[in-house]
């Protein structure tokens, strides 16, 4: 279908009809509560994960109700659009809350047309966020027409083969003046909070050096961010990134040398251990899901000074 045949007016009309139908279907319960706090544009080039994405959006909407616009970039030419709703019954309530969505299929070559289509579909006067699932944004300029439409761009560099190039690309986006978030940074929140708590408790005082050990053939993007964060926080300390062990890329351990030598290790996926002065403290550090990471990012729609300092 040629791009011009997908009419934003028609999509908006379909959305209005969707709400009327939802209202009628739930008339006995007093209709539904229409929820919208932002526009969330999600671009995915993996058609296979559409079910997972729909489920994920359904969960995200509970805390970040939005008009979700899913761009299914499957490489095939031709634009197609359908509307949908995500409804849920809050615990203990009797009225459903619903958020609306639009699913648009397009080829990569049509992203310029998609940008024109998106403009009237973005909810006026509310924040708009672009979430690029997958690594393609790091290598493909096709996304460029979408970037000026939104206030914040969320990417995930975890699967980019070259971590240094990924950080450079994120830095480049930031230097263009765009608010950008990388889920590889978001994943570090729990670990960073643990390190901050060591400082509060006095376990990590007068730190003179920090050694971050990573496994695999190169540091992860998260490891690069962590070392930059340490350097910014401790300008007088020596911060090094060192390889230790083969296998998958990951942060293996962190050593903070100060009044006592604090060693942070991860004995299993759900635990972090801190060894210091002969004592061991265990903290739970569960692997965070994509929805948790996204929820954290969607709760920050303005500047993120700590991450910005790393990208500066």
């Amino acid at each position: 279908m040629p791009a011009t045949l997908v009419d934003p007016e028609k999509i908006l009309k379909d959305l209005r009809k969707l709400w009327l139908d939802l209202g009628r279907e739930n008339e006995v319960a007093g209709g539904v509560l229409r929820a919208c706090g932002m526009t969330l544009v999600v671009a995915t080039d993996n058609a296979a994960d559409m079910d997972e994405l729909r489920h994920l959006l359904g969960v995200l909407m509970h805390n970040h109700p939005a008009r979700a616009i899913v761009l299914k970039l499957d490489g095939k030419a031709g634009l197609n659009a359908t509307v949908f709703s995500q409804c849920w019954m809050p615990f203990g309530k009797h009225q459903q809350i619903c958020a609306e969505g639009v699913e648009i299929s397009a080829g990569f070559s049509e992203l310029t047309h998609v940008a024109q289509l998106l403009l009237p579909l973005i909810v006026s006067d509310l924040p708009a966020v672009l979430w690029c699932r997958g690594p393609r944004i790091f290598s493909d300029r096709a996304f460029d027409p979408l970037l000026p439409l939104v206030q914040k761009i969320i990417v995930d560099s975890a699967t980019v083969p070259d971590p240094y190039a990924a950080v450079a690309a994120v830095r480049d986006l930031r230097q263009q003046g765009r608010l950008v978030a990388d889920l590889s940074w978001t994943k570090l929140t729990g670990l960073r909070e643990l390190i901050a708590s060591l400082f509060d408790e006095g376990t990590a005082s007068n730190i003179s050096s920090v050694r971050i050990f990573y496994g695999g053939d190169a540091p992860t993007v998260s490891a690069l961010y962590l070392s930059d964060w340490m350097r910014r926080a401790l300008p007088d300390a020596e911060v090094t990134l060192e390889q230790r062990g083969e296998g998958t890329r990951s942060i293996r351990s962190i050593v903070l040398v100060g009044d006592c030598e604090a060693i942070l290790t991860r004995p299993d996926k759900a635990t972090m251990e801190v060894h210091c002065g002969g004592r061991t403290r265990r903290s739970s550090m569960v692997l965070v899901s994509e929805e948790t990471l996204m929820s954290e990012e969607l709760s920050i729609l303005g500047p993120d000074p700590v991450f910005d300092r790393i990208l500066a």
Binding site: K93, I97, E193, A196, V306
Partner: protein, 498 residues
Amino acid sequence: MLKPVASNNPFADPLRFDRRVPECAIVIFGANGDLTKRKLLPALYRLAYERRLPDSFAIVGNSRTAMTDDAFREKMHESVKQFLEDSPFDEDLWSSFSRNIYYVAGDLNDAKLYADLKTKLDELNRPNVLYYLSTQPSYYGPVVEAIGAAGMGRSTEKGWHRVVIEKPFGHDLDSARALNARVHSVFPEEAVFRIDHYLGKETVQNIVAFRFGNGIFEPLWNRRYVNHVQITAAESIGVEGRGAYYQEAGALRDMIQNHLLQVMATVAMEPPAAFEPDSMRDERAKLLRSVKIMKPEEVGFHSVAGQYRGFREEQGVDPNSQTNTFAAATFFVDNWRWAGVPFYIRSGKKLPKRTTDIAIQFNSAPHTLFMSEDGRPPRPNLLILRIQPEEGISLRFLSKYPGAGMRLRPVSMDFNYGSSFGERSPSAYETLLMDVMVGDATLYTRQDMVEASWKAVTPILESWTERTFDFPNYDPGTWGPAESDAMLARNGHKWRNG
């Protein structure tokens, strides 16, 4: 969430890190009571659910009933399951959370209790200790003094010792001052957290955001544009087994002196210089000190007491009780911003529905171009801040009715919390417990605020104590006695019974 506490930690990231509760123990006096079961434990469990409490967080419950730790845990398990609001219950989480729940039985008047508590706290070895007085108010002074006598009150180099005191803080101005003196003999003011759970409600906090975060309302927030303000806290239920307590308190003491005057202070205070505990509390206190104190001869004109039919038959209630189950009052604020603007406050039991809201009625347009459909001047704009049950904000204004001619109808522009921020706000007790543990007193009342609000109601209390009312004077399911409507009608106003 409130602004995070300032930190000199080079790793701080206030946007992303939750405020962290330091390693601490909370001692709850009156742990067998309703408040603990319905509010405190569910709130603490919910904070644990959100991983905002340290793993070592300990709870020590106390009451007179002899009980083992396990029996107390089981009791709390049932309570949390029953009273947890808007949130599912997770058995696995409960099993790790409850490991740090302990129980020490003992009489609040017995020095041995405090020795036993000291032994338990020494054994637990948490650097910070929070005492929560959820007892009958008459025990507040003795318990605090006993904590002091046992050497458990003062903060040490290891950590802080704080006390949370539930309302009512005194039963009049003199008793509030006397209680303050007793509390201060053990805890300095910065360690005293007087809880008013209304201030912990998200929607009450949102009044501050609404007023001072937006540029369009504050210019209208004064006597030039505001005609009057109505604050209503209505309950559809009666005293529900609390007859004995309630007949000593009454609606004026139970609701207006504390919750509703604090709400009024939040609505009417001047903008603080910063969103910091002392700045906020200074402005609230200043407003409360500006409330015009009624002269004895004005009390009958500016206040109304009511009692619903059937109250005297409630269990534990004196058959000749003079307790007010409904109270309404007109307050004025003696400052430049509010001079002459009436603030009508009412609260009652057995009213038609459960609702708490603040209605700000603006002046009518200076020149009336249009008439309502009934031929009268159109109703003025109304801004309603809904505290419960449907939290949100509505603005009523006039709109042209579609079609020929110029017929105007009032319409409402609504903001509903659920439709913009998803499904759940923290309960007031979650917010306030978190605040006290991180040392943020913004939402707690200070001694001068308590005394100023007692001063504001003292003439009414004194006058009502001297009078014999012809109670009961309103039927359940109505909006209180007719005198309440008359009080507003004298100023040409009318309660919004929406």
